[in-house]
C-alpha cells in the first residue's frame, strides 16, 4: 500500500474520477502513434508514457518538459479506446507546476518548441501556455529571438541546390515546407491567391487566437530565409499549373487548404443575413464593417463555428448560439475551446438541425429548426442524428452564420492528380500525389484539421521532396 503522504499527493494533483479513469489505460500506444508532436519530436515526446507517469509519479511529471509539449489537437482522445483526454489531464499538472513554481520543465520545453517550424504561430495556436497562466506574449518574444539567431547560423544551406520548388498555398503546411526546404538550400516560391500570406491563419483565425504581428513576423523570417512569397497569384487563374513546369519548377507542393464552405441546403440560404463563417471571419480580419444585429445563430459544431461564435460576441452581437445537430460528445471542435467559448457567454444548443431560414422583407428574421435524436453509428463512427417528428420550433435571429465544414477546392489541379472523396489523394507516408513531382499536404488532403497537423504534413512533404529531388527515389513510395 502506498504511504499516506504520496497517496494524498496524487489525490491533490488529479481529481479522483480522472485518476480512476486513467487507470483503465492499458498502454496500447494509440495516443502516441496518433500524436503529431510525438512524430515531430521523436523519440523525445511520448504522451502514453507521460500519462502513465501522472499515475505512478505525478510529482516527477511536474518538472518534465514533455508536460508542456502537448499541442492540444485531441487526436489521442479521438482514438483512445478508453476515451481518455490526455491534454486535459496534462493541463491539471501544468496548473500545479505553475502553482508550485516548477518552471524549469517549461523552459526546456520552450527550447524544444523553438525547433518546431513556425514556432511562434504554433505557440499561439497549439501550445497555449496561457491556459496555465503563463504569458504567451513573453514566450513568443523569446521564440522569435531564438528563430532569428538560428537563421543567422551560416553554411547550413548551401546554394548547391538549383532545383526550383513551387509551393501552392501559404497556410501552415505550405509555410512549413517552404521553411524546411529553404533551409535545405532550395530556391522556393510560394504562390498565394489572397493578398496576404498565411492561408487560414490570416483569413479566418481570429486575432485573439493569433495576433497579426506573430504571423507577420514568421512570414518575415521566411522571406529573410530567401523564400519568394508571391501573393495575389492564384494557381489555375493567374498562373496555370502547367506553367509551373514550364517555368522550371522541379517539384510542386499543393497545400491549398480547405476553403470551400459546404452549404446547408435549406430554403432561404441566400437571404441577406445568412453568412458563411469563413467569409465572416475574413471580413472581420480585414477590418471590414459588419452588422450582425442582436442575435446571432451559428450552424455547425467544428472549430470554425466556435471561432465564429466567439468573434460574433466580440463584434457586437448580444447573443451568439451554436446550433449543432448531434450532442456535445460528437462535436468535432476542440473540447477545451468549446468550454472557453461557453465561458465567454456563447450558448450551445445540441441535437438541433435547421430546416428553413425565416425571411421577412428580404431579411433574415430567424431560423426554423427541428430537434434530433441520435441513432445508429454511421460511417464516421458517430451516431447519426434523426429528426424527431413534430418537434419543429423556431428561433429569432438577426444573423445566421453557416459553419458546417469546409472542403478543398481542387478544380485547378490537372486531371492526373487523383482525388479521394473530393480531397487530394496522396501516399500517406510520402505525401506524393498520383502525378510525378507533385506532393500535397494539409487540409487539402485531410479536410479541416489543426495547425500542428498541417505543420507535420509540411515537414513530411519537405523531406519527401528533398529525397525526390536528390535521389529521385522515395522510401515507401511508388516511384
Amino acid at each position: 500500500m502506498a504511504s499516506g503522504g504520496s497517496d494524498s499527493m496524487k489525490i491533490a494533483l488529479i481529481p479522483k474520477e480522472i485518476r480512476e479513469k486513467t487507470k483503465s489505460c492499458f498502454e496500447c500506444g494509440i495516443c502516441t502513434a496518433s500524436c503529431p508532436m510525438a512524430e515531430l519530436l521523436q523519440p523525445h515526446y511520448n504522451p502514453r508514457i507521460l500519462l502513465q507517469k501522472t499515475l505512478t509519479e505525478p510529482e516527477k511529471t511536474l518538472n518534465e518538459d514533455t508536460l508542456w509539449l502537448c499541442a492540444w489537437c485531441y487526436k489521442c482522445y479521438e482514438r483512445c479506446p478508453q476515451g481518455l483526454k490526455p491534454p486535459e489531464i496534462f493541463q491539471l499538472l501544468k496548473n500545479e507546476a505553475v502553482k508550485r513554481g516548477f518552471l524549469e520543465g517549461f523552459e526546456r520545453a520552450v527550447s524544444k518548441i523553438a525547433d518546431v517550424p513556425l514556432s511562434v504561430i504554433s505557440l499561439y495556436t497549439c501550445f497555449h501556455p496561457e491556459r496555465a497562466n503563463i504569458s504567451v506574449e513573453k514566450v513568443a518574444e523569446a521564440l522569435q529571438k531564438a528563430a532569428i539567431i538560428e537563421e543567422q547560423i551560416p553554411g547550413k544551406a548551401e546554394a548547391n541546390q538549383r532545383k526550383k520548388i513551387a509551393i501552392v498555398g501559404s497556410g501552415p503546411a505550405g509555410l512549413t515546407a517552404a521553411c524546411e526546404l529553404a533551409k535545405a538550400g532550395y530556391p522556393v516560391t510560394v504562390f498565394e491567391a489572397l493578398p496576404q500570406p498565411g492561408g487560414m491563419l490570416g483569413k479566418s483565425m481570429p486575432a485573439y487566437r493569433l495576433p497579426r504581428k506573430a504571423l507577420e513576423s514568421e512570414i518575415q523570417l521566411l522571406e529573410d530565409l530567401g523564400v519568394n512569397m508571391r501573393v495575389n497569384q492564384k494557381v489555375g487563374k493567374d498562373v496555370s499549373f502547367e506553367q509551373l513546369w514550364r517555368n522550371g519548377y522541379k517539384a510542386v507542393f499543393v497545400a491549398t487548404g480547405a476553403h470551400k464552405s459546404r452549404r446547408v441546403g435549406i430554403e432561404g440560404e441566400d437571404t441577406k443575413g445568412v453568412v458563411d463563417a469563413l467569409e465572416f471571419l475574413w471580413k472581420i480580419n480585414m477590418k471590414e464593417k459588419i452588422t450582425l444585429g442582436r442575435k446571432v445563430g451559428i450552424i455547425g459544431g467544428g472549430n470554425v463555428a466556435v471561432d465564429a461564435a466567439r468573434t460574433a460576441l466580440e463584434y457586437g452581437a448580444r447573443e451568439a448560439t451554436i446550433l449543432y445537430r448531434r450532442s456535445r460528445e460528437e462535436m468535432p471542435a476542440n473540447p477545451w475551446e468549446v468550454n472557453e467559448a461557453e465561458e465567454d457567454g456563447v450558448k450551445l444548443e445540441f441535437l438541433v438541425a435547421p430546416s428553413k431560414i425565416m425571411v421577412k422583407d428580404g431579411k433574415t428574421t430567424g431560423l426554423e429548426c427541428i430537434r434530433m435524436e441520435l441513432g445508429e453509428l454511421d460511417e464516421t463512427g458517430r451516431r447519426t442524428p434523426i429528426p424527431v417528428e413534430g418537434s419543429e420550433f423556431s428561433v429569432e435571429l438577426d444573423t445566421v452564420i453557416v459553419a458546417i465544414g469546409e472542403e478543398p477546392e481542387t478544380s485547378f489541379l490537372p486531371r492526373e492528380i487523383e482525388l479521394d472523396r473530393g480531397r487530394v489523394a496522396v501516399n500517406p507516408i510520402t505525401m506524393e500525389t498520383s502525378m510525378k513531382g507533385v506532393f500535397a499536404g494539409g487540409d487539402v488532403v485531410t479536410g479541416s484539421a489543426t495547425v500542428i497537423e498541417a505543420v507535420l504534413a509540411g515537414i513530411r512533404a519537405a523531406s519527401s521532396i528533398n529525397q525526390y529531388l536528390t535521389k529521385l527515389k522515395l522510401e515507401g513510395g511508388a516511384y
Binding site: G29, A33, G381, N427
Partner: protein, 801 residues
C-alpha cells in the same frame, strides 16, 4: 405440527451462542441470555458454546420435547450460514421449520463492534428482542410441491444448444430445439479450425448436427422463433412460430433448383464473400438439409407467381409456395437459453477503415476465406486483387476492452488469432505475419503451447495497437501506424492484408429473449446467472438455464461444457418430477382486496393474475419467488406475505426501538445483496458504529413505505433501505419499486417538513461490505446533528402510521 399447536400461546426457547470467542469475546452472552429470559413468551433461555454443534442441536431438540417449546430463536451467526441447520433440528424434534428465527449477533454485531463490548452487548439484546417478537408471530407452513413436465425447450441451435439438446435427449427427455436460422450449427459452422487442437470445426460439428436431425427425442424447429413464454418452473407454455420454408421435406438437396434460380444475393453464411440464390441452403452440411426460399428476394411475391423455374426443375415436386407459418404451442418443464452472440461491427472505428479498404477484413471473414469449403476454396486471397498477400497483420482487441466498443475482454480473440496465424504458416510459410496486441491471454489448456508454437513459427508479436490504417491507393497495401510500446518506438508497417480480431457481443435481439423468459442481464448485456460461482448455469428464474455465449463470451469447449452442465441441471429437475416452493409466497385476503391490480403490475414474475370476472387475485405459487414487492405495494392489506408479514416486521421495528429510538438506525437489508454485504463487512471485521439495527427482508422491494413511516413515528433516528444494485436485483427488477417508494417517501418527508436525510437508500452488492460500513458511519454523523425537535416532528408527522 398442526395449526392447533401453533395457535397455542407461544413458548419460546432462546439459545445464545458463544461461537467460541467469536461472539463471547465481545458480547456478554450470559447477560444476553438472562435478558432474553425476561422477554414475553420466552419459556427458556440458555447460552451455549457452539449451538451449531451436534450437542448444541441436541440441546434444542431435547428442550423442544422436554419444555414443550413451540418457537425457537437462536442468536448466533448469519441465517445465510446456519438457518437451514437449525430449521432441520427443529423439524427433527417435530417443530415446523417455519417457527424458527435467528438473531445475527456475530457478523452483524460482535465482529463489527469488536472494541465496544458494552454497546455490542446492548445491540445483541435488541436483536434477540426483535427475533423473539417476530418468532411469536410466525406461522407454521407447509411447502407446496409442483409437478414438472418432462419436456425441455432449447432456444438456439449453435453448438451449445446442440449439445444441451443431445444430452437431454440421450437422457430420455423430449426436447424441442428452436433455431431462428434455416439451419442449426451457429457460429461454429462458420469457423474453419478450432483452437488449440486445430480440429476441423465443421468436421466435428456436422456429426452432432446430423444426430440432432435424426434423434427420436428431438423435435428440430429450424427457421422458427419463440414468441411467448408463459408459466413457471416445471410448467412452461411456449408459443413458437415455425416459419415456412416453401420447400417440403420431400427435398433431396439435389441443388437442381438453385442452378436455375435467376436471383442472386450475397450469402450471409459467408459474410457476403460468396453469392447465393433465392432458393438455397445456407451451407453444404446444413441440418435440416431441406432447401429454403428467401421470399424477400424471390420474384414471386404475395399472390403473383412470376417465375416457376425452381418448380419446373424440382423432380420431387418439393416446392410449395402456399406454405403457411405454423404456430406451435409447446408444454415444457425446463428451458435452456443458448441464443449465442454476435460479432462486433468494426466499421465505426473509422481509423481502421473497415468497409473503406477492401483488404481490411474481420476475423470471421478470415475463417470463411481460409476454409477449404469457403468462397476462395481455402486460398488466403485478399479481396482487392484475389492474390495471396506477402504479409498480413492481425489487430487484437478490436471492439473489446474499450469504451468505444465493449468494455469487457471477449475471451476468444487472442487464441483465435494465434490459431489463424498458424493456419497461414501451415499453408504459406513465407507469408510474414504481424500480430499487434496489448495483452495475449493464453490461459486455457494447451493455449500457451500454441502461443509458443506461433512464435517459433516466426509470427511477429508486437505490443501496441495501430492508431490508424492507411491504404496505398496504387497497390491497395495497407500501412499500419502505431507505437511499439515495449520498444517505445513508432512503427509504420506495410502489409498486404489486415485482419481485425473482432470481439463478441450480445445478440441484438437478446432483449426479446430477456423479456420472454424474465431473465436478467449484466451491464455487459449478457444473461446473468443465478450465482456466479455456485449456480453458473442457472438463470435467476427457476427452471431456466443458460448455455454458451448467451451467458458470456466463451470458446467452443466452454460452451459445450456449459451446455452439458445446463442439460444436467435441467435433467435433475425433470428426474425429480416435482419441485417444492419455499413457503414465503403471499396469500391473498379476498375480503380486503379491491382488485386494483397494483400487485400484479409490480410482480417481476407475472405470478399474480387479477380475475375481474371472478373477483379474484390468484398467485401462481410456483412462479412466485417470494420477493414481497406485491405486499409492499398493496394499499389494502390484502396480501399476507408469509414469513415476512407486516405484523412480523412491525413487531421487529417496535422491539428494536423500544429503548433510545432516536439514537438508532433501522436498516432494511435485502437477503441477497445488502444483508450479504453486511455479513461480508463482518467477515472482513470492518468496524462501524453499533447503533445500526438490521432487519432482513428477501428483497428491498418488500420494504413497504409504512414500515419506514412506522419507524419514524416511533422516533427512530434514521432509516436505511438497502438493496442490490439496479440491474442486479435477485428478483429481476423488484428494486426499481424500492427506488420509487423511497423517492416518494422523500417527497412526502419534504412536504411534511421532516428532514429527508433521515431516510437513506443504498445499493450495495454482496461484496460491498465496505459500502455498508461507510454508509453506517455517514449516517451516524447525521444522527449526531439530529435535534429532539426534529425527532418530535417526525413522530408527529407520521403518527398513526
Amino acid at each position: 405440527m398442526t395449526e392447533k399447536e401453533a395457535e397455542e400461546a407461544p413458548r419460546i426457547g432462546v439459545y445464545v451462542c458463544h461461537c467460541g470467542l467469536n461472539i463471547a469475546g465481545t458480547v456478554n452472552c450470559e447477560a444476553v441470555a438472562r435478558f432474553a429470559a425476561t422477554l414475553p413468551n420466552v419459556a427458556i433461555s440458555k447460552d451455549d458454546r457452539y449451538t451449531c454443534s451436534d450437542q448444541g442441536q441436541e440441546l434444542i431438540k431435547n428442550d423442544i420435547k422436554e419444555h414443550n417449546l413451540n418457537r425457537v430463536v437462536v442468536a448466533s451467526c448469519s441465517p445465510r450460514l446456519h438457518e437451514s441447520t437449525f430449521r432441520k433440528a427443529c423439524e427433527d424434534a417435530g417443530l415446523n421449520k417455519y417457527l424458527f428465527e435467528m438473531a445475527n449477533i456475530r457478523e452483524q454485531c460482535s465482529w463489527v463492534h469488536i472494541h465496544d463490548k458494552e454497546a455490542a452487548t446492548e445491540k445483541a439484546k435488541d436483536l434477540v428482542r426483535a427475533a423473539v417478537a417476530k418468532v411469536a408471530l410466525l406461522e407454521p407452513a407447509i411447502e407446496t410441491e409442483v409437478p414438472i413436465t418432462r419436456n425441455a425447450l432449447v432456444i438456439g441451435g449453435g453448438v451449445a444448444g446442440i449439445q444441451s439438446a443431445l444430452d437431454l435427449a440421450d437422457t430420455g427427455y423430449k426436447v424441442y430445439l428452436v433455431e431462428k436460422e434455416p439451419s442449426i450449427g451457429g457460429r461454429m459452422a462458420q469457423i474453419d479450425k478450432t483452437f488449440p487442437t486445430m480440429d476441423c470445426s465443421i468436421c466435428i460439428l456436422a456429426p452432432k448436427m446430423s444426430d440432432v436431425g435424426h434423434h427420436p427425442n428431438i423435435v428440430l424447429l429450424a427457421n422458427s422463433e419463440v414468441q411467448e413464454v408463459k408459466g413457471y418452473i416445471g410448467n412452461f407454455k411456449a408459443k413458437v412460430l415455425k416459419k415456412p420454408r416453401y420447400v417440403t421435406d420431400e427435398c433431396s438437396a439435389c441443388n437442381d433448383c438453385t442452378e436455375v434460380c435467376p436471383v442472386t444475393v450475397p450469402n450471409e453464411f459467408d459474410i457476403g464473400l460468396a453469392t447465393r440464390r433465392a432458393i438455397y441452403t445456407p451451407f453444404a452440411q446444413a441440418v435440416p438439409s431441406t432447401y429454403i426460399i428467401d421470399r424477400g428476394i424471390c420474384l414471386n411475391k404475395e399472390g403473383i407467381m412470376a417465375c416457376d423455374k425452381c418448380i419446373q426443375a424440382c423432380e420431387r415436386k418439393a416446392i410449395d409456395f402456399d406454405m403457411e407459418p405454423e404456430p406451435l404451442e409447446l408444454e415444457v418443464g425446463t428451458i435452456i437459453v443458448a441464443t449465442g452472440a454476435e460479432v462486433y461491427d468494426p466499421s465505426s472505428l473509422t481509423n481502421y477503415g473497415y468497409t473503406r479498404y477492401q483488404n481490411v477484413i474481420t476475423s470471421l471473414e478470415f475463417e470463411r476465406l481460409i476454409n477449404a469449403g469457403g468462397p476462395s476454396g481455402g486460398n488466403l486471397i485478399r479481396p482487392s486483387d484475389r492474390k495471396i498477400p506477402e504479409s498480413v497483420a492481425f489487430i487484437q482487441c478490436v471492439g473489446s476492452r474499450s469504451e468505444r466498443g465493449n468494455p469487457y475482454c471477449s475471451n476468444v480473440c487472442c487464441m483465435n488469432t494465434i490459431k489463424d496465424s498458424l493456419l497461414i504458416k501451415e499453408h504459406w510459410p513465407d507469408v510474414e505475419i504481424h500480430v499487434f496486441y496489448v495483452d495475449i491471454r493464453a490461459f486455457g489448456k494447451g493455449f500457451e503451447d500454441l502461443y509458443t508454437r506461433a512464435k517459433e513459427e516466426g509470427v511477429i508479436f508486437t505490443r501496441g495497437l495501430p492508431a490508424e490504417i492507411v491504404e496505398d491507393r496504387k497497390t491497395h497495401n495497407l500501412w499500419l501506424i502505431g507505437e511499439n510500446t515495449l520498444q517505445k518506438e513508432l512503427y509504420k508497417i506495410n502489409v498486404g492484408m489486415t485482419i481485425l480480431s473482432i470481439g463478441i457481443q450480445p445478440c441484438h435481439d437478446s432483449d426479446t429473449i430477456q423479456r420472454l423468459c424474465t431473465l436478467s442481464r449484466t451491464l455487459d448485456g449478457f444473461f446473468m446467472e443465478a450465482h456466479p460461482k455456485l449456480r453458473p448455469v442457472d438463470a435467476p428464474t427457476g427452471g431456466i438455464f443458460l448455455a454458451g455465449c448467451a451467458e458470456s463470451p466463451k470458446d467452443i469447449k466452454d460452451s459445450v461444457t456449459q451446455a452439458s452442465a445446463a442439460a444436467a441441471r435441467a435433467g435433475i429437475l425433470m428426474a425429480q418430477g416435482k419441485v417444492s416452493v419455499e413457503a414465503i409466497t403471499p396469500k391473498t385476503i379476498p375480503e380486503n382486496c379491491q382488485l386494483c391490480g397494483l400487485c400484479a403490475r409490480v410482480c417481476p414474475y407475472n405470478a399474480i393474475a387479477v380475475d375481474k370476472e371472478r373477483k379474484l387475485v390468484e398467485v401462481a405459487e410456483a412462479a412466485c419467488a417470494g420477493c414481497g414487492t406485491c405486499g409492499a405495494e398493496c394499499q389494502f392489506e390484502a396480501l399476507h406475505m408469509r414469513h415476512f408479514t407486516d405484523a412480523q416486521i412491525m413487531s421487529q421495528i417496535d422491539a428494536l426501538v423500544e429503548e433510545a429510538p432516536d439514537e438508532k438506525i433501522i436498516a432494511f437489508c435485502c437477503n441477497w445483496c445488502a444483508y450479504a454485504g453486511a455479513d461480508f463487512a463482518g467477515v472482513s471485521r470492518m468496524q462501524y458504529p453499533p447503533n445500526v439495527r438490521i432487519i432482513r427482508t428477501m428483497c428491498s422491494g418488500r420494504v413497504s413505505p409504512k414500515f419506514v413511516e412506522h419507524a419514524l413515528s416511533r422516533g427512530v433516528g434514521a432509516v436505511l433501505v438497502a438493496g442490490c444494485h439496479p440491474g442486479d436485483c435477485h428478483y429481476i427488477n423488484a428494486n426499481i419499486q424500492t427506488r420509487k417508494r423511497v423517492e416518494k417517501l422523500w417527497k412526502k418527508m419534504d412536504r411534511l417538513g421532516v428532514d429527508k436525510n433521515r431516510l437513506q437508500l443504498l445499493w450495495a452488492s454482496a461484496a460491498e461490505g465496505e459500502k455498508v460500513a461507510s454508509k453506517a458511519k455517514e449516517m451516524q454523523a447525521t444522527l449526531k446533528k439530529l435535534t429532539p425537535e426534529e425527532v418530535e416532528k417526525g413522530k408527529q408527522a407520521f403518527a398513526g402510521s
